[in-house]
Amino acid sequence: MIKLTPEILQAIEKPARYTGHEWNAVEKNWDEAKCHFALALPDVYEVGMSNLGLKILYEVLNGRSDTFCERVYAPWIDMEEKMREAGIPLFSLESFNEIKSFDFLGFSLQYEMIYSNVLNMLELAGIPVWTKDRDDNDPFIVGGGPCVYNTEPVCDFFDFFILGEGEEIISEVVDVFVSWRAAGSPGGRQGFLREAARLDGIYVPAFYEPQYDDRGLFSGMKLLDDAAKPVVYKRVIKDMDQVTFVEKPVVPYIDIVHDRIMLELFRGCTRGCRFCQAGTSYRPVRERSKERLRELARKLVDSTGYNEMSLTSLSSADYSCLGEMVDDLFADFEGEKVSFSLPSLRIDSFSIDLAHKMQQVRKSGLTFAPEAGTQRLRDVINKGVTEENLLQAVEAAFKQGWKQVKLYFMMGLPTETDEDIIGIANLAKKVVDKYFEVKGRRGCTVTISVSCFVPKPFTPFQWFGQVPREEFERRQKLLKENIRDKSIKFNYHDARVSVLEGSLARGDRRLSKVIYQAWKDGAKFDGWTDLFKNEVWHEAYEKCGIDITQYNERTRDLEEPLPWEHTSPGVSRAFLRREYDKALQECLTEDCRRGKCSACGVCPALDAKVVDWRAKDV
C-alpha cells in the first residue's frame, strides 16, 4: 500500500486528486477477489472523473463479487515529479495499491493527443511500455473508448482492445480470465489472449501483422493466429433499458470538468454528418425508455446529492420523448432545487423552448453548431441545417431573453473555399443583426468557435487529405479580417495540435515508434495548451525517418486498403464511398431513424436494431 506523506501532499496543487475516499468509491477486500481491474483515463483527475464510460464500467465490474475494480488517472506534472523523486509507483485511488499488481489496466482512449500519457503512466507504474517486453508479473494492458477505430498507432503498447460498448464484453473478459487463472494460466499470457480474442469485440494486435507495399503504403493485414478474426466488429448493447447503468457514481470532493449527474438518454446519432466519427461509430440509435430514465434520475439524485443533471447523448434534443420526459422530471423533482441541462441543442425553435423551460432564470448562453459558413458546404457535410433555421432559432432565443450565442464551426472541411470561410463571418453578422431586429438595440455577444477539421477513420471523409498548418493559419487570418463587428468574438484552435492529431488519427503501426520517441523526449499532456510541445513531436517524426504528411495531408486512393479497416464499428466501405460521392455532389442523405435507410451496414453487421420510442408508438 502506498503512503503519501504530508511533505508531498502539501507541496502540490489540488492534493485531493490523489487522496481518494470519495462518496460512493467502492472499497473492497483485495484477497477476496479473483480479478483485479484498474480503470484509467490517461488525463488528470478532473477530466478522468468526468468520463461516463468509466463510471459505467466501474459499476459493472464492482457489481461482480469476484472482481476488485479501482480508479487511476494521470498524475499532474507536479505530482509526477514528487512521485519520481520519492520512488512512488502509480497507485489506485481506493486502496492505494500499486497499479502493477492488478491483473488488468484498462485505458479509456478519448482522443489521440493523450497517447503520450499512456506511456508515461505505464512507466510510472513500473510496467514495460512495449507489449513485447511484458511478462507474467505485469497486468494486461487494455484499451477502449472512441480511439479504438484506429488503434494501430498505439497497438504495440497494448495487449488487447475492447471495441465498442463495454458493459457486457468487459464481464466476458473477466469470466475468461477467472477460468484461465483457475486452470493454472495455461499457455501463459498468449494463452489468455488467444481465449479473449475469440470473444466478439476483442482485438489482439499481436495476432496481426501489417503488410506494406514497395511504395511503403499499407497493403493489408496478415493474420498470425487462428484466434484472429479478419475483421473485429464493435460490441453494441441491444436493449438500453436492461443494461447496467451508473446508479452510484463516485462523487468527487473537488470540482471536476462535468461536476453533475449525467443521465444518458440514448446512444447513437444517425443524422449522418459526414465529418463526424461519433455519428458512424455509435450507430444504431438506441433509446432508453422514459420510464427507465425517470427511475435512474431518482436513483442518481438520491445516491449523489447533486442538484444538477445533464441529459446527455450525442444529440439530446433528438430524444423522441424529450418534451414529456422533461415535464416528468420537473414534476418528480419539484421543490428539490435540481436543475437540468441539455449539452447540445438542435438548431430549431423546439430546442429553444425546451432550453427556456430548463433554465427558468439564469440565461447563461446558447450554443449551436452550424459547422460551416455556407449552404453549399453544409450540404457537403450533410449538416441539414439552413441559414433560415439558424436565424429562426436565434430569433426565438433573443425573444426569450438570451443575449449570448455561441456558434461552432470547422475549418478545413473538404472542398472548402475562401468564400466558405468568409461565410462564417457573414453568418455571425446576420445573427448580430437579428438581435438588433428583435430588440431594437445592440447588446448581444456572438462567439464563433472554429476548430480545425481532422479527417477520421470510418467517416466518409476518411480519404481526404488534411489542410496543412500554414493553410489553416491563413484561413484563420482571413476569417479574422472579415469579422468587423465588435459583438463577434472569434476563438480558434491551435492548428499545430490539429495536424498532429491528424497524423495520429489515420496513422498506422509504424507511428508507435514516433509516439515512443516523442514521449521519451518529454511529450505529455499534449492536449493541454501550456504543456504541448510541438517541436518534440516534429523532431520525433524526423528521428524516426517518417514523413508526417504521408498521414495527415495525403489524400488516400479510394481503392487503397486502410490500416484501420479490421477494427470496425460496422459501417460498410460501400456506404462510406457513397457518402463520399454524395458529399462531392453536395447531396443530402436522410436520417435513417425516421427516414429512409441509407444502408450503412451497421444493423446487419451487428445484428442490432434502431430503438426509437416515438416510432414504436406510431
Binding site: 504530508p6 501532499l9 492534493p15 475516499h21 447533486y306 442538484n307 428539490e336 432545487k337
Partner: protein, 232 residues
C-alpha cells in the same frame, strides 16, 4: 426558518480538501439525506449555511462548527442521524442543537462573530536536538511582541502576532514525533494561522523541524470560554 448548530469533524480522509469543498460535502449529504434545507432567495439560490472559521487545506479538525437552516422543524437527533448516514468517511456530526432565539428577540450573533479562540496541535518529526527545540520555543514564548512580515500572493503586511497567542506555546514529544500546542485568538480584525507560527519558529527561532512535514489538527474552538455549540 429553523436554525441548527452542528459540531462536526474533518478527519484524516478529508484532510486535503478545501473549506469550500468541505462545505460542498455537507451540502450534498443534506440533499442525499432528504433534509428540508432552507435556501437563499434570488437567481442562484444556495443553502443557508455558515461556518465559524475556514479551515485550511491540509488541516484536520476534531470540532468544526456550522450553523444551517431547515424549512421545517425537525428533531435535532433525527437531523444528526440522517446526516451521519450520508456523510463520507472522516466527516462526522458529533452534536447538533437547535439555535433558540433569545427571549428579548435579540438575534444570535453569527458563528463567525462568536468564535474568539481556537486550540491547535501540530505533529512533526524532530530533526535535530531536543534541547535546542525546547530552547527555541522558550525564546519565542518569552517575547512580549513579535512582528511578522507576512507575504501572501495578494499583499505584504507586518503584523504583531503575540497579541493573537493566548498561552505560551507548549512543546512535548508524542511517540516519536514532536508535538506543539497553541491557543490562537481570533478577533473581528484578525488572527494568525498556526502554520505561520510554525514557520516563524522554524525559520526565525531555529526550531529543528521542517514545516512541510507537519500535520496540523484543530482541537477546539471557543466563544467566551465555551465550546461554540454550548452557546446556543
Amino acid at each position: 426558518m429553523y436554525k441548527y448548530r452542528a459540531e462536526i469533524t474533518k478527519g484524516e480522509e478529508v484532510r486535503y480538501i478545501s473549506h469550500l469543498d468541505y462545505a460542498g460535502v455537507i451540502q450534498r449529504a443534506i440533499c442525499r439525506a432528504h433534509l428540508p434545507a432552507a435556501y437563499s432567495e434570488g437567481f442562484n439560490p444556495h443553502m443557508k449555511m455558515a461556518f465559524a472559521s475556514a479551515l485550511a487545506m491540509g488541516v484536520t479538525s476534531d470540532k468544526e462548527y456550522m450553523d444551517f437552516e431547515m424549512a421545517r422543524p425537525l428533531n435535532a437527533q433525527e437531523v444528526m442521524d440522517r446526516l451521519n448516514a450520508h456523510l463520507p468517511q472522516g466527516v462526522r456530526i458529533l452534536r447538533i442543537k437547535p439555535v433558540r432565539e433569545f427571549k428579548n428577540k435579540k438575534k444570535h450573533k453569527s458563528l463567525m462573530a462568536e468564535v474568539d479562540l481556537a486550540d491547535y496541535e501540530l505533529f512533526m518529526p524532530l530533526e535535530g536536538d531536543w534541547d535546542k527545540a525546547v530552547e527555541s520555543v522558550q525564546e519565542f514564548n518569552q517575547l512580549k511582541e513579535y512582528v511578522y512580515h507576512r507575504v501572501t500572493p495578494k499583499k505584504v503586511r507586518d503584523i504583531e502576532i503575540k497579541q493573537y497567542i493566548k498561552d505560551p506555546v507548549k512543546i512535548s514529544m508524542s511517540g516519536d514525533r514532536l508535538k506543539l500546542e497553541m491557543s490562537i485568538i481570533i478577533t473581528q480584525t484578525g488572527t494568525i494561522k498556526s502554520s505561520d507560527i510554525l514557520k516563524i519558529l522554524a525559520e526565525e527561532f531555529g526550531l529543528p523541524i521542517n514545516p512541510v512535514r507537519a500535520l496540523i489538527n484543530r482541537k477546539a474552538m471557543y466563544g467566551e470560554g465555551k465550546a461554540l455549540i454550548d452557546l446556543v
